[in-house]
Symmetry: C2
Subunit: 347 residues, 2 copies
Amino acid sequence: MIAVKGYAAQNAKTPLAPFSFERRTPGANDVLIDILYCGVCHSDIHQARDEWGGSIFPMVPGHEIVGRVAQVGSGVKNFKVGDLAGVGCLVDSCRTCPSCQQNLEQFCEVHSVGTYNSLEMDRKTPTYGGYSNKIVVDERFTLKVSDKLKLDEVAPLLCAGITTYSPLRHWKVGKGQKVAVVGLGGLGHMGVKFAAAFGAEVTVLSTSSAKEKDARRLGAHHFINTNNADEVKKARGRFDFILNTVSAQHDYNFLLNMAKLDGTMVLVGVPPEAVPVHAFSLIGGRKSLAGSLIGGLKETQEMLDFCAAHNITSDVEVIAIKDIESAYARMIKGDVRYRFVIDMATL
Amino acid sequence: MIAVKGYAAQNAKTPLAPFSFERRTPGANDVLIDILYCGVCHSDIHQARDEWGGSIFPMVPGHEIVGRVAQVGSGVKNFKVGDLAGVGCLVDSCRTCPSCQQNLEQFCEVHSVGTYNSLEMDRKTPTYGGYSNKIVVDERFTLKVSDKLKLDEVAPLLCAGITTYSPLRHWKVGKGQKVAVVGLGGLGHMGVKFAAAFGAEVTVLSTSSAKEKDARRLGAHHFINTNNADEVKKARGRFDFILNTVSAQHDYNFLLNMAKLDGTMVLVGVPPEAVPVHAFSLIGGRKSLAGSLIGGLKETQEMLDFCAAHNITSDVEVIAIKDIESAYARMIKGDVRYRFVIDMATL
């Protein structure tokens, strides 16, 4: 076994604190990664505080992991010691069901193994995430990371990046299309960068005019304060595609009204309660309300390669791991531009 | 002006009763149709009783109209006296906006003129529907009707038919796909016939096992009683496409759970209240919830031609117009198999 240091929540009520544990000795197909940076996702808070139910404790959060390969198993083909590597939200799946065969491991019909707060395929062994100094992952679930980009800024691509890249690709967003990104946070700011890179005309919808300057810097062409009734009225029927990154409770009908004929709004945020949808909001314009969940391994690699080719990274604030609870507190207030990343050298 | 006899609601509270009114003298592009049959749509009740608000009284309902051409204007090219003709939910639109140019007049960005309870393009002249003996319509909004099919059974195709045909075509439902039709009423029974004709494997979902026999007769391959928890559990992730025809209040999440990866549920019924949708119901499987509204004129003609070629019509109960209120009462109880059609000879 491999001795690992990390930070863990012992239960839903107490702050994260130092935690020593063990990971499996790398098998034939495994890669041992020395973790350099781990991004802090809002879902880390939900899970560490058991806000979605079913949390497994002790919990080492973190699924936006970049590091350097320290050891490889005898069967590993694509990684060698010293390579940069990334790990996202998944570390295993059944690999044989129709979803896995379509490279959509996130929708594995048998069991997709989350990087933390999950059980391995044996359904017994808990998984521990990236708020730690080492991780052991099958190379099939390990991603290549370019050395052209700043590593701290790459970490959030593993979740915030793929979560926004995947729906924009799946729904073929590009040139000639008007795209709205709702909410300018960890997900939204990546959505703006990708939609702009794909050639779309991008509008940020936000409740805070303070975000307009940043929205434009990140690549948005327009900004609408959704509290401004006049601006909202003018945007009626405007957008081909709406990427909705908001996880606070909010009104979908209001936003669907801004979609054009055959327009789609895709949810990547999960509000705490179900949101009432009027049938007329969809019927009047043959509109769609859809959802998207991270991305498969193949698409995640494609996204990382796209980022390397187009010099796209996340805007981050690097923190020491001892400051994780104050980072959580700031995230809950929306006070981060746009992703906290833990420097694992501080562990 | 043309003298017309019909049945009208004088206000939301009183029963429909005989009503005499006038229609415009046919202009150069108009067709005068002697109405033979008019289907009775559930939306006739909602509008006659002002349940959706904004009703225009007096109201002559009816937008499932078939009849025979009695007179044509000097510019009419496609109809001659004696031809069979149909009129559906629309009698005019701006004809020049992007929606109209795409043959999607039902989504006209300027104003689509409903066959009744609507105002003409002048925004002043109320429209009166098919519970009457004559109608005058621009030939562009008049449909060709084959003499191969029974006319009383054709009438409901003009609304119930196109409302179900259009989404099945738009979402490319066909061979190799598993399709669910939710609700077996006026819309649902047409959805079953079309989905089966397009080669899909069709399952009817209904709260009433009494409908199973009919479902199979209409072309369904399977039947699920949605009150049977075991059957519902087994159907998890089964359907590529769900055509939801239910206009009673019901749970969308429960049905979305039966859609497979990348599956779509399309609403053609409008429940009285907004329905709460859990983001996870869509995100877990990249599913879509969409809406569809009747169809444009071109597609409505295509549907009528398809029906003539494949011998598809509606299952109807023909009634005398004096019995319209008792027909409404039976429709509200779901007691009609599957569409009432008024024989206008009884007027």
